[in-house]
């Protein structure tokens, strides 16, 4: 097994001779996307015209379907089939895993009369056109036997339990230290239920050829989708060809298969023709996962000098009754600040709501909204600058595990950010700065997000014309995967970018875990790098072993790859010439990456600092951002342009989290109040003013051979807290209930007599 020490050796990527690593090259698939010619799942042209499927969903949160009247729907124009649990094709039971190596288990649709959440698929209509299918779906009449449902999170804390296989983490004597601390904070923060609202609703086009099904779908995990469909249909995964080449946003919400995938495949088989299915925007809200609400109690005890002596972050959250997902909102706090006496943990309420699941930076995104405000509150109590308070609690080693950090530049993020943002302009006394009817304030927050490396493979081939094609069962959900894989391959092989092709999103290709947990670039990219290194070895062997090559006889250890040329000092030929002559059918090799044996000996994270300036309207309580700046340390940056897009996108999610985004559960009905994009308020362009970010120079040689880390989730971590702290600085109103909408802010202003 490899050790992280092996990764410290220089290699083509870290040497970066052609300079393509880090360069802000244009997005690989950008021209297709700006011209509308990148085919997303529902755009796929099937071999013959597809029939259209539409889902029918439950209108109660819990109970049984007692009758389904499909007569009118079946008789409607163009209708080809109407399914409910009564007549849907038999599928493997939920959770079944015929192949123990399947990455996902069976996930049947229409499997029983049970309704487990509002919006669950309970019937399915296929017709010749979308117009006919949608109209027929509205003709399906369903009767229910409702059962009592637990849907009110804040009223159900008495049912909270420890998540499975999890204990609270106690270090030292938190109660004793907290009781003895001269300065304390004990506050509870609330982060609401949120929806992913990817621009592209879930969609699949499916067709069969013999026993094999082809599905073009929108999913972040290629193997997960392929295996789930195979397990559900009880067929070998080799009979499922899954493609997901362009994905209209994921954010964690498309990490799993949904009913469009299963039902389109089943219906295509039943009808003997292609079938395509898309969720409506409304169906996305309940029918796919969401970020659960989290209530977080933070207790801090400190010496007058600001040193933390007692530290507790306790989170209560919820998940669907039948599921096991936990929003680990306290986890991040275990690695952030030094304090000898600590308590962190989670409680979970099982509810009859749709499935909670991962959404961009699960854990950190809601979690940091609590602690990073509590630190602000403590700083004020101590009369310290919030940055100084954090510096005074900067740990030398991981505060919980005692392990060394692989690299940690949090303090530099804060100090560099303070300078560039102009933090010295901040008046530490809240409510002092006015601009007409606007009260103006500034806030900051730290950011931390774990870094991960998962096992992955990649394949790379070179053809006789010198074209190098990287193939991987990886996805690009807007993250820039295509682009960075091209850059890594080009730099590893010493060829211009124009000579590299990237093909991903296909279950026939060597598997990678997909996009999620900001592990994508490091994981897929490292496998691509290793594949490239193997191709270098193969080509070296080919050249030094070929009597017709100028490199014949070696020595192999002196071979270089630059500008599309393989050389030993002044003996050289182009890669194209070598391959055309010595391997006219091309050369294909694979490479793989796996976590190093000693990777867990280090505490490894990405870090950042957010700075925000907001205006609060004194009349209305409206909050508008005026400026935001973030500084981040996230390993070597592969592409300055796409990485910055990722990180600022995350920051903007933080703005939405702080100001507009939430969904309420109506406890009377067990459904979400917001069910479309007019009611669920993701930020619009006008919400985002003067927002920018930068990365510190960094290479984390404990992370992977390239020293890179993820950037997809770091940007949201802590961003909302910086806004909340700025609102406090502007007004003196401390809100702990996100999002900070005008009604809450105005109530706070009025309570202060403003």
């Amino acid at each position: 097994m490899t050790s992280v020490a092996d990764w410290a050796e220089p290699n083509p990527v870290t040497e970066n001779r052609s300079g393509v690593i880090g360069k802000g090259v244009d997005r690989y698939e950008g021209a297709l996307k700006v011209s509308g010619t990148a085919p997303y799942a529902y755009d796929t042209v099937a071999p013959s015209p597809p029939a259209i499927g539409v889902l029918v969903t439950a209108s109660i949160p819990r109970g049984r379907v007692t009758s389904v009247d499909v007569a009118a729907a079946e008789a409607a124009p163009g209708v080809q089939l109407v399914w409910s649990h009564l007549n849907a094709p038999k599928q493997a039971p939920r959770g079944a895993r015929a192949n123990p190596r399947s990455q996902r288990a069976s996930n049947p649709a229409l499997a029983s009369d049970r309704v487990e959440y509002f919006g669950q698929t309970i019937a399915f209509v296929v017709a010749d056109t979308f117009e006919n299918a949608r109209a027929a779906a509205d003709l399906v009449k369903v009767e229910y036997a409702p059962e009592p449902a637990v849907v009110d999170f804040l009223a159900s804390f008495d049912q909270a339990t420890l998540p499975p296989d999890e204990e609270d983490v106690h270090i030292g004597d938190f109660p004793g230290a907290y009781g003895a601390a001269p300065v304390t904070i004990d506050e509870t923060y609330f982060s609401p239920l949120q929806n992913h609202v990817q621009m592209e609703p879930c969609a699949t086009v499916a067709w069969w050829e013999g026993d094999k099904v082809t599905v073009h779908t929108s999913i972040q995990m290629v193997k997960g989708g392929q295996h789930a469909l195979a397990e559900t249909l009880a067929i070998p995964s080799t009979d499922v060809h899954l493609l997901t080449r362009y994905i209209g946003g994921g954010f964690g919400g498309k990490g799993q298969p949904y009913d469009d995938l299963i039902l389109s495949a089943l219906a295509a088989r039943a009808l003997g023709r292609p079938v395509k299915v898309a969720y409506t925007r409304q169906q996305m809200f309940h029918g796919t996962i969401h970020r659960p609400a989290v209530s977080m109690r933070v207790r801090l005890g400190a010496e007058p000098n600001g040193r933390l002596t007692a530290f507790a972050v306790e989170a209560v959250t919820h998940c669907a009754r039948a599921a096991t997902f936990t929003e680990h909102a306290a986890n991040f706090s275990r690695n952030l600040y030094a304090a000898p006496n600590r308590l962190t943990g989670h409680r979970l309420v099982r509810m009859d709501l749709p499935h909670a699941g991962p959404m961009r930076a699960p854990g950190e995104a809601p979690g940091m909204l609590s602690l990073e405000c509590a630190m602000d509150e403590l700083a004020e109590k101590l009369g310290l600058d919030p940055i100084e308070l954090r510096i005074r609690n900067e740990p030398d080693i991981d505060p919980e595990t005692g392990k060394p950090f692989s690299i940690r530049q949090l303090v530099r993020c804060m100090t560099e950010g303070a300078q560039r943002f102009g933090w010295e302009r901040r008046n530490p006394v809240p409510g002092q700065v006015r601009d007409g009817r606007w009260m103006v304030g500034m806030g900051m927050a730290a950011a931390i997000r774990g870094n991960f490396l998962l096992p992955a493979k990649a394949g790379v081939r070179i053809d006789a014309d010198g074209t190098i094609t990287l193939r991987q069962g990886m996805t690009d959900i807007g993250t820039g995967t295509y682009t960075i894989l091209a850059q890594i391959t080009a730099e590893t092989m010493g060829v211009p970018l124009s000579q590299v092709k990237v093909e991903i999103g296909d279950s026939d290709f060597p598997p990678a875990p997909g996009s999620g947990g900001q592990f994508g670039a490091a994981t897929a990219g490292s496998a691509a790098f290793e594949a490239g290194m193997n191709l270098r070895r193969a080509l070296t062997e080919l050249a030094v072993g070929d009597p017709n090559s100028p490199l014949y006889g070696g020595p192999a250890e002196y071979v270089t790859f630059e500008n599309g040329v393989i050389a030993i000092e002044n003996r050289s030929e182009t890669l194209a010439a070598l391959v055309a002559r010595a391997a006219p059918d091309g050369v294909y090799v694979e490479g793989s990456i796996a976590p190093a044996a000693d990777a867990r000996d280090y505490s490894q994270h990405t870090y950042g600092a957010h700075f925000a300036e907001v205006g609060v309207n004194m009349v209305t309580g409206e909050v508008r951002m005026r400026k935001m700046f973030g500084v981040f340390a996230a390993g070597r940056i592969l592409n300055a342009k796409t990485a910055k897009s990722q990180i600022t996108g995350g920051m903007i999610w933080g703005v939405g989290t702080a100001l507009t985004e939430s969904n309420a559960v109506d406890p009377r009905f067990g459904s979400f109040v917001a069910q479309d994009m007019a009611e669920y308020l993701a930020p619009v362009h006008a919400d985002i003013v003067d927002l920018d970010a930068m990365f510190l120079d960094e290479a984390d040689d404990k992370a992977n051979p390239m020293g890179i880390k993820g950037v997809g989730e770091l940007g949201i971590a802590g961003a909302g807290a910086a806004i909340a702290n700025a609102i406090y600085n502007a007004t003196g109103v401390r809100l702990r209930d996100y999002p900070m909408t005008p009604d809450k802010v105005l109530a706070g202003l009025m309570a202060k007599g403003l």
Partner: protein
């Protein structure tokens, strides 16, 4: 969406007749609200009469010194019109505060006035709603959000009218001109066009079946400044939590009632020499709300005071 037949009207009177005589027929102009609702089967017309290309898309001076705006004129062109911008800035401001550039390019003057509520429970067809399904109940009442009317609500309905444009037109004392099924022409004040919900919230205006709004007539601009203000959760492209239009001594509120709300008490107070804050308070004395909506009373009071003040300092 239920099947329907479609015809493009070439003659207004024939269009009016076609809709008046067919209970399943509806006028279609911009379609931005009707098609939205049809996709959810909240509206299910069996026949659409497209009046979008009838010659009601222009704007002309009236003999009284006001403007006559064609009912089919798009919101964008109305807002952009130089005479509107110069003489009725409150109307331009109100229109530009609503929806998006794309929607304003499609939505029409008449359609905007007749847009239906954005109440979440009106849109969620799995829930009781007296407006959508008379007699089924009001789900918004007692709901978990602070949504709802604070003036003129009933036990049957607390939905609000969310047009921005209509609030400005109310403050401008505008009227609609209609073509009636019997061939007549009727003039109705915008502030009287919409009804309070009472026991029949499904009846939203005093228009008869088939009655077509052909124009909105603005009287000459009032003396005094004009101002428009809108509060919303998002900086743009969001329905208002509260809107206030002021034109001279006239004041109207939006998103507070089943109709654009003319703030007559505030106007009376202003006429009697009250301060903006006093005038706003005078109107809000008549507001009524449950606990979840009390914040809205404060919000509208503050917004009204500030907007009256702004109008006073405007030209």
């Amino acid at each position: 969406m239920r099947p329907f037949t479609y015809e493009r009207a070439t003659d207004a009177q024939a269009a009016v007749k076609a809709v008046a005589e067919n209970p399943g027929a509806r006028f279609l102009a911009g379609g931005t609200n009707l098609l939205d609702l049809m996709k959810l089967e909240i509206e299910a017309p069996t026949h659409l009469v497209d009046v979008g290309r009838l010659p009601f898309a222009g704007i002309e001076e009236t003999d009284e010194g006001g403007l006559r705006i064609g009912g089919a004129m798009t919101n964008a062109r109305l807002a952009a019109h130089p005479k509107v911008r110069e003489r009725y800035p409150v109307l331009t401001r109100a229109i530009l505060a609503g929806a998006s550039g794309q929607l304003r390019n499609k939505a029409t003057t008449a359609g905007n006035l007749l847009q239906r509520t954005r109440c979440d429970y009106f849109y969620d067809t799995t829930k009781p709603c007296n407006k959508r399904q008379p007699g089924s109940g009001c789900s918004a009442l007692g709901g978990p959000t602070g949504y709802g009317a604070i003036f003129g609500a009933s036990e049957a309905c607390i939905a609000t009218h969310t047009s921005d444009m209509a609030v400005a037109m109310t403050a401008l004392d505008a009227s609609v001109e209609t073509m009636t099924p019997d061939g007549g022409v009727r003039t109705i004040k915008v502030e009287a066009l919409h009804l309070l919900p009472e026991a029949t919230p499904q009846v939203e205006t005093q228009l008869a079946a088939g009655e077509l709004i052909t124009a909105v007539v603005l009287p000459p601009p009032p003396l005094g400044g004009q101002a428009y203000a809108k509060v919303r959760d998002r900086a743009s492209y969001a329905h208002g939590l509260a809107m206030v239009a002021v034109a001279g001594g006239r004041v109207a509120f939006g998103a507070v009632a089943h109709k654009p709300w003319r703030a007559a008490q505030a106007e009376a107070a202003l006429a009697a020499g009250a301060s903006p804050a006093e005038a706003a308070a005078a109107e809000m004395a008549g507001a009524d709300a449950d606990d979840r909506r009390t914040h809205k009373i404060a919000l509208v009071r503050r917004l009204a005071a500030a907007t009256i003040e702004d109008a006073g300092s405007a030209r």
